[in-house]
């Protein structure tokens, strides 16, 4: 054990003496560990954000969307928002069916009105959603300024904005009372929502970017009724979610002629859809990172072989003063392991830096998990030991007199 500590110290000395070469050796390990830790961190962060997004919708809110979206298949079929709406399979009648279903307290239709609102700037980044005054009852979200349109406002041309929409349309945070033109009609801003929790890689519309207008006002703007994006239905309590979901499905199947061209999603399901897509993505990156770790291991082997050749004389001296083959073997394996541990350590630091930068500059909020750090380190150490043993064995088997002669 004492000899091992000595080996560790001499390994550090060697690494310090050949800084450039050691860094290049560690590079593969650094890249591998950094990418694994970062990607898994981002993945965990996204899952966390997604569940927060589900939470704000409320745990007892069912989402009814056009087009069939099976919970299990969601991961495989990367359905985009466009195809949901384009199918246009939900109608005003369905809104009525959902509203009268068992245990449904409130139901709110959300439909997309095509067009570009023109305020201080023209706004193309988000949709205009026509809805009823019941929306705040379904969303567990408070207003930052003003209020949502009430029942008696529905015929008036008022609008409520998400925060991003407010900023981009008017270049200011509190555009209450300001107006914008949409399809030739003036709308007055009556309220601005607080920041919604929005998850990246989500299929759902980011409500921060949305403009909400009353659906009666919307129906005056367009000749046909606008396509429904979704119907939100709030259920009495969480326990009746399943029965209500089946009831709604049964009712809608009847009106749709037994054709399942819609989907009724429980909160957990809409989460599953997004996480499944993201998991595939994560697995891919982790695979690439594993290859990078393997290549890093080969790099370690290469450098250790050079190191063994270069230090043959030293090996000879050590053997001459009584080092056994096994002790030389241990020394070189410990050196390889030290290289990979250092590489893993630097990789973790790099990934922490990347995480912080992502946190600041993007909407991602990576979660730093110590489990994955330990896992990545263990894998790195193992690759170091495995790839370091071959050069170490070559060093250990060398005849002492041969080793001493090489300079």
């Amino acid at each position: 054990m004492n000899a091992h500590r000595g080996h560790f110290k001499s390994a550090l000395t060697t690494i310090r003496a050949n800084r450039g070469r050691s860094f290049l050796t560690m590079f593969g390990v650094i890249v591998g560990v950094a990418s694994v830790v970062t990607v898994v961190g981002i993945g965990e962060g996204v899952k966390h954000q997604l569940s927060k997004q589900i939470d704000q919708l409320g745990k007892n809110v069912l989402t009814i969307r056009p087009a069939s979206l099976n919970g299990q298949q969601a991961g495989q079929s990367l359905t985009t928002l466009g195809s949901y709406v384009a199918s246009g399979s939900l109608s005003e009648d369905d809104v009525h069916q959902v509203a009268t279903a068992k245990n449904v307290q409130v139901s709110v239709p959300l439909s997309i009105v095509a067009g570009t609102p023109q305020g201080d700037n023209s706004y193309k980044n988000g949709p205009v959603l026509a809805t009823t005054s019941n929306l705040p009852k379904v969303l567990s979200q408070s207003m930052a300024y003003g209020g949502f349109f009430a029942n008696d406002d529905v015929n008036q041309d008022v609008a409520v904005l998400g925060q991003t929409a407010a900023e981009q349309l008017f270049n200011q945070d509190v555009p209450l009372g300001r107006s914008f033109t949409f399809r030739g009609q003036q709308f007055v801003v009556s309220g601005v929502f607080n920041q919604f929790a929005a998850a990246p890689f989500s299929n759902d519309i980011d409500f921060n970017k949305a403009i909400f207008i009353p659906d009666s006002a919307a129906s005056q703007l367009v000749s046909t009724s606008p396509p429904l994006y979704e119907i939100l239905a709030k259920v009495d309590n969480q326990n009746s979610l399943n029965t209500t979901a089946t009831d709604i499905t049964k009712r809608l199947l009847k009106t749709h002629g037994n054709q399942q061209d819609f989907s009724v999603l429980k909160p957990s399901q809409s989460l599953a859809a997004s996480t499944a897509i993201f998991n595939t993505f994560t697995e891919l990156i982790v695979g690439v990172a594993a290859i990078s770790l393997f290549v890093g291991g080969i790099g370690i082997m290469n450098v250790m072989l050079v190191s063994v050749t270069e230090r043959m004389h030293e090996i000879g001296v050590r053997k001459a003063v009584g080092a056994t083959n096994r002790q030389i073997l241990h020394q070189f394996i410990i050196e390889a392991a030290t290289l990979s541990v250092l590489g893993a350590f630097i990789g973790i630091i790099v990934s922490l830096i990347i995480d912080v930068v992502l946190w600041i500059t993007t909407s991602l909020s990576p979660v730093i998990s110590w489990q994955i750090m330990i896992l990545a380190t263990v894998v790195a150490v193992f690759s170091g030991i495995i790839f370091g043993s071959f050069p170490a064995m070559r060093a250990a088997r060398k005849d002492p007199i041969e080793a001493l002669r090489s300079e």
């Binding site: 000899a3 050590r318 001459a320 056994t324």
Partner: protein
């Protein structure tokens, strides 16, 4: 009880047509407490003999008994342990590790014995004090003079209390002051009861030895016991005929000395000659190794 008993020890290098004979059936017995100087021209097999005695190399034929134990067929790990515990080896080129301090270098054999860091540094420090280097502990070998480096190397050889010291031209890379320093130290160690074998080209240094062995072409041609403090008889014969100033002169001197020696083609020599001719091998001898 003899410390070293070599019986018909031969060492061959290479194989087939390129075989060279470095040692040719050498017989040598060294008793405890002897201070043996080995002399001979370059390439005569002195270093090979030292390596075999020091268990760095093993004989191709013949037997070697060290402290009454056969060691010519030891496994590598056993040989390593024997080197560590019973033999101190001193090289012409010092062979200290340049990246370690003098103290760490001296403690190196103790690392492989598994002694705790604090204890081994203490032991190494004591040993450095014995060779008069206590104020150079934290120097690197490159910061010391040749004589001092060799003293540190001797301290390293002694740190395991080996009793047997083997020195392959310990003064070969040193100036006369360094040589004197090293030889005085070795002579002191001899007085303390250590058995010492050293190779030298300098006849003057036989003054320190109790026995002088002359080698040529892989065999021992002359073996002379003498009293301490005197230059060996055979060596003296040419000492005054040639001024000894540099190592090259030393080499020339030894060659002259060898010519002065009575040529005695022994039986084994003839046998060896036959052996080499029947195999059709070249008669080139192994080149001198530093």
């Amino acid at each position: 009880m003899p410390v070293i008993e070599l019986q018909d020890v031969s060492r061959l290098y290479g194989f087939g047509d390129a075989t060279t004979l470095a040692l040719d059936e050498v017989n040598l017995t060294i008793e405890k407490g002897e201070f043996v100087a080995v002399m001979g021209p370059s390439g005569c097999g002195k270093s090979t003999l030292m390596n075999i005695i020091g268990l760095l190399d093993h004989p191709s034929h013949g037997s070697y008994k060290l402290y009454d134990r056969y060691v010519d067929r030891l496994r590598p790990s056993q040989a390593a342990k024997a080197r560590r515990d019973t033999i101190g080896f001193i090289f012409q080129s010092f062979n200290l590790l340049p990246k370690l301090t003098v103290l760490e270098n001296v403690a190196l054999p103790l690392v492989y014995k598994g002694i705790k860091p604090v204890k081994r540094l203490k032991l190494a420090s004591n040993m450095l004090e014995r060779v008069g280097m206590q104020n150079r502990e934290y120097f690197f070998p490159s910061q010391l003079s040749g004589g001092q480096v060799q003293c540190a190397a001797i301290a390293r050889a002694l740190v395991n209390d080996p009793n047997l010291l083997i020195a392959d031209e310990p003064t070969g890379n040193l100036d006369s002051a360094g040589s004197r320093l090293v030889m005085e130290l070795m002579s002191e160690l001899h007085k303390m009861g250590n058995t010492i074998i050293f190779v030298t080209h300098n006849p003057e240094l036989t003054r320190y030895a109790t026995r002088v062995v002359y080698m040529r072409d892989g065999t021992i041609v002359h073996d002379e016991k003498k009293s301490l403090g005197e230059v060996a008889q055979t060596a003296r014969r040419m000492m005054y005929t040639l001024p000894v100033a540099s190592e090259e002169d030393d080499l020339a001197g030894v060659s002259t000395l060898m010519k002065a020696l009575p040529a005695k083609p022994t039986k084994s020599r003839q046998k060896a000659a036959k052996k080499t001719t029947t195999k059709g091998t070249k008669t080139t001898r192994r080149k001198a190794r530093r």
